[in-house]
């Protein structure tokens, strides 16, 4: 197991370096620079700005300098927000993004698992079709459609919940968490239904039924562990996707998270901020995939054995 983890960590290093390198050169190829403004920057001023950020160095040298700093964990100063370092901005924005993703995934798990298990027990009845059709709609509905609808209903018409902010007004975290978690709840519902159906048709479940065990006992003690395995393998990439993909929800709900900075950094050609956030998100994706794999191994004795046998 330990070997497996170490192996995976070692694999992550070249992946992250490659991400950093490709991003570095790609953003430099994009037309326009960080100091381009509607009002032209006088050439003598531009010269000083380029000097300050070493943009007048040859590209290979800028790359080498960047990589050296990166290996020391220093993402450098932001171009657009020069009094903040990229590390500062990540530290400032990540808590909100992480918190939002956490609530969203909790919401998705509670609602998704309940609906999926419920549907699997009554498969091919109306009680299966209705939540599963709803889930299909949930999967298809992008957050930029769902968010404004929820806002309109609960924020503007009913006036129950705030329409924007994060931790400023009581209840302002509910709508964004639901909006972000909704599609994932729908996925989880469908995946867990499938997983449960597989398990429920196994012999040992039939035995349990024959023994006269209650449905609740069968589901929670015997079936669930196997039934949610596909959900676990979905969770790793899902959490990474939530973290990296929360920018739409962050924009709609005015949440001070990393996603909004990411989008603005691209528009502003804030080279260091784009790079820093890309590498940071890449790191998270690698990390959560690894965690999901570890949990899977831990849950599944078959895989555990395979690894042990190697």
């Amino acid at each position: 197991m330990l070997r497996f983890i170490i192996q995976r960590c070692l694999q992550a290093i070249p992946v992250l370096l490659l991400v950093a390198t490709v991003t570095f050169f790609m953003i430099r190829m994009a037309p326009g620079g960080p100091f381009d403004n509607e009002r032209a920057v006088p050439p003598e001023v531009l010269k000083h700005l380029n000097e300050r950020y070493h943009l007048d160095d040859p590209l290979w040298k800028q790359y080498a300098d960047y990589m050296v700093n990166l290996l020391q964990g220093d993402f450098g100063p932001s171009f657009k927000y020069p009094t903040h370092t990229v590390n500062d901005l990540i530290a400032a924005g990540f808590p909100a993004t992480a918190e939002l993703s956490l609530y969203a995934i909790l919401f998705a798990l509670v609602v998704g698992l309940t609906a999926g298990v419920f549907a699997s027990l009554r498969s091919n009845t109306m009680q299966d079709y209705i939540p599963m059709s709803a889930a299909m709609i949930g999967i298809c509905m992008p957050t930029f459609v769902l968010g404004p609808i929820l806002l309109l209903v609960f924020g503007i018409w009913l006036g129950w919940l705030p329409v924007a902010g994060w931790g400023q007004i009581p209840g302002d975290k509910i709508l964004p968490s639901v909006t972000l978690g909704f599609a994932y709840a729908a996925y989880i519902a469908r995946i867990s239904r499938g997983g449960m159906l597989d398990v429920l048709s196994q012999d040992y479940i039939r035995t349990a039924k024959a023994k006269g065990l209650s449905t609740a006992r069968i589901v929670f003690v015997h079936a669930l562990r196997g039934g949610i395995t596909p959900v676990i393998s979905f969770l790793g990439p899902a959490i990474a996707g939530l973290l990296a993909g929360s920018f739409v929800v962050e924009s709609i709900f005015q949440i001070p998270g990393l996603g909004r900075f990411y989008v603005m950094a691209a528009f502003n050609r804030d080279y260091t901020l784009i790079l820093g956030l890309t590498i940071f998100f890449a790191f998270l994706i690698v990390l959560f995939n690894l965690l999901a794999d570890i949990v899977l191994v831990w849950l599944n004795p078959k895989v555990r054995q395979d690894l042990g046998g190697k």
Binding site: P31, N37, A40, A96, L161
Partner: protein, 543 residues
């Protein structure tokens, strides 16, 4: 089932939160506590007045700093600020400012004449990279110092005659000089604080952090959380603290105007920075008292790249310019009260309204096109109009494309480009027709007309005219306002005759303002000092 349960659950949570009676909104609570909540566009890049360029930053600087003079919130007349009075020599070259003895920094230090000398030396030092340093170029030798032609700041026309007397000598009599003193590049900074965190000419040090900041405006920084809020609170050392009635201002960086509008409707903002054009019509129809539309000192126009065929032919440029129905554009497309315009400088700029005007005359346009060799548009080469990606720009471009097709029978293709790509192409003259806009820095025709001097940094059309350049030079040394304005009229006529640009309309600002906000006055500079604002509930019988 699942969906229903979920809705029910959410409703329950919401209902619990909402309580039984009417919930007080952030705006209601803010109004009671004199805390103003406003949308402020994008996240401020910085607040150092000598390195920033944008409006979101300027709004903060207006709360945190104050120049020698300031503007009346309603009439925009120059009024005393840090300087309690000043004298101007007969030749208009020497200004003597008398700093008020009560002026202080927010840490209690006295604000003296030397502070301005050092601050302007910093603003003009090349190493700082101040993009607005040229705002101070009207001061004697300021340009030479900034460009490194002289290194001794004593040669620049700024000197502290004594502790509270500042003398400024100009290169030329500059009628708008006092206005420039209210621009952020002329604001003073507290040198001892700056030096604690870096060199005097070093940008982006930590002196602007809330815990370090020292300013001289009516407010000081309370909190700065990137992406969330920038809040300020009263500065007890401000010389005119008795006038200030707001306790705090919370500036929210909201990139999306739709989000802002929603927050306003839900009672989370007293004022929005802007209003999406798609929403204007509804507010207008409802006669909403919260909807505001004010003329703004700027012009929306198209620029022709005169270095490219067929736009190198003035007849073609004119044909394109004469066949646009600007009234139709402002009435049916922009719909935000914009003013159709036929020249570059907005009307009534300190008594100057351009005499020169482009005309709307389709017959003449057709004739000009035929003269240029394309009767009824036959054989007219491919032409492309580019704009930066935005629905509003697109709508206007589509309308103009159709107007040209109908009037001249020519096909013009449209292309949208991402902002930085667009800017880069405009600067490299890599376009044929490009969308432009310009907002004046100070109320004077010069802020618009100087754009089109040959090879000017913001010209970007490839056009130049030696007489035009000469007129701009002459205007800086004119003895009287009449003489100056005559030069401007002639320059404006050259622009209209040579048509390197196609003016379309004068801007308006469209936004939502709570009726609780008092002491807020509409004006063409979108200039709203917070020192005069206060909050008073407009709800009748409010408890």
């Amino acid at each position: 089932m699942k969906a229903l349960n979920f809705l029910f659950l959410i409703s329950l949570i919401g209902f619990t939160l909402s309580g039984c009676g009417e919930r007080k909104t952030l705006v209601d609570i803010g109004t009671e506590a004199q805390i103003l909540h406003i949308g402020n566009g994008t996240e401020p890049a910085e607040i150092d007045p000598h390195t920033t360029t944008g409006m979101p930053e300027y709004h903060l600087q207006m709360a945190l700093f104050e120049g020698l003079v300031s503007k009346h919130p309603e009439t925009l007349e120059i009024i005393p600020a840090v300087a309690e009075r000043w004298t101007i020599s007969d030749d208009g070259l020497v200004y003597t400012f008398f700093i008020r003895p009560t002026a202080k920094w927010s840490n209690g230090d006295a604000l003296v004449a030397e502070d301005f000398v050092l601050s302007w030396q910093r603003a003009l030092s090349a190493a700082l990279g101040n993009q607005y340093a040229n705002m101070l170029y009207s001061i004697k030798n300021a340009e030479a110092f900034h460009l490194g032609k002289i290194t001794d700041f004593k040669q620049v026309g700024v000197i502290a005659l004594d502790r509270l007397t500042l003398q400024v000598t100009l290169e030329n009599p500059t009628p708008y000089f006092l206005q420039i003193l209210d621009h952020h590049s002329a604001f003073p900074v507290h040198l001892p604080t700056l030096l604690k965190h870096g060199r005097m000419d070093e940008a982006a040090t930590r002196w602007t952090r809330p815990e370090n900041f020292v300013g001289n405006g009516p407010f000081v920084i309370k909190e700065w959380t990137p992406g969330k809020v920038f809040s300020v609170q009263r500065n007890q050392y401000y010389w005119d603290a008795a006038t200030v009635r707001l306790n705090e201002i919370h500036f929210y960086p909201i990139d999306q105007s739709l989000v802002e509008e929603r927050m306003f409707k839900a009672g989370q903002l007293h004022k929005t920075e802007t209003l999406p054009s798609s929403k204007i019509e509804r507010y207008r129809q409802n006669n909403s008292p919260e909807y505001r539309s004010n003329l703004y000192f700027g012009t929306y126009y198209y620029a022709f790249n005169v270095t490219r065929k067929p736009l190198d032919d003035v007849r073609i440029r004119k044909a394109l310019a004469y066949s646009i129905d600007r009234e139709a554009i402002t009435k049916h497309i922009t719909r935000g009260g914009q003013l159709p315009t036929y020249a570059l400088t907005p009307p009534d700029t300190l008594g100057y309204t351009p005499r020169a005007k482009m005309i709307y005359d389709i017959d003449l346009a057709r004739k000009l096109l035929a003269e240029a060799g394309y009767p009824d548009g036959k054989g007219f080469p491919k032409l492309e109009l580019v704009y930066n990606t935005s629905q509003d720009h697109q709508k206007i471009a589509v309308a103009i494309q159709q107007m040209w097709k109908k009037a001249l029978n020519i096909d013009v293709s449209l292309q949208n480009q991402e902002w930085k790509v667009f800017l880069s192409n405009q600067q490299l003259l890599n376009f044929q027709i490009g969308r432009r806009g310009w907002i004046g820095d100070y109320i004077d025709p010069f802020t618009f007309l100087e754009l089109f001097v040959t090879n000017g940094g913001n010209n970007n059309t490839g056009w130049g005219n030696s007489r035009y350049d000469e007129l701009m030079r002459l205007s800086t040394s004119a003895k009287t306002r009449e003489e100056r304005y005559e030069y401007f009229h002639e320059a404006e006529q050259i622009l209209v005759d040579d048509a390197p640009i196609l003016p379309i309309y004068n801007y308006t600002t469209n936004y939502l303002l709570s009726q609780d906000v008092k002491g807020y006055f509409p004006n063409t500079m979108d200039y709203h000092p917070y020192k005069y604002m206060y909050l008073e509930s407009s709800k009748k019988g409010n408890n």
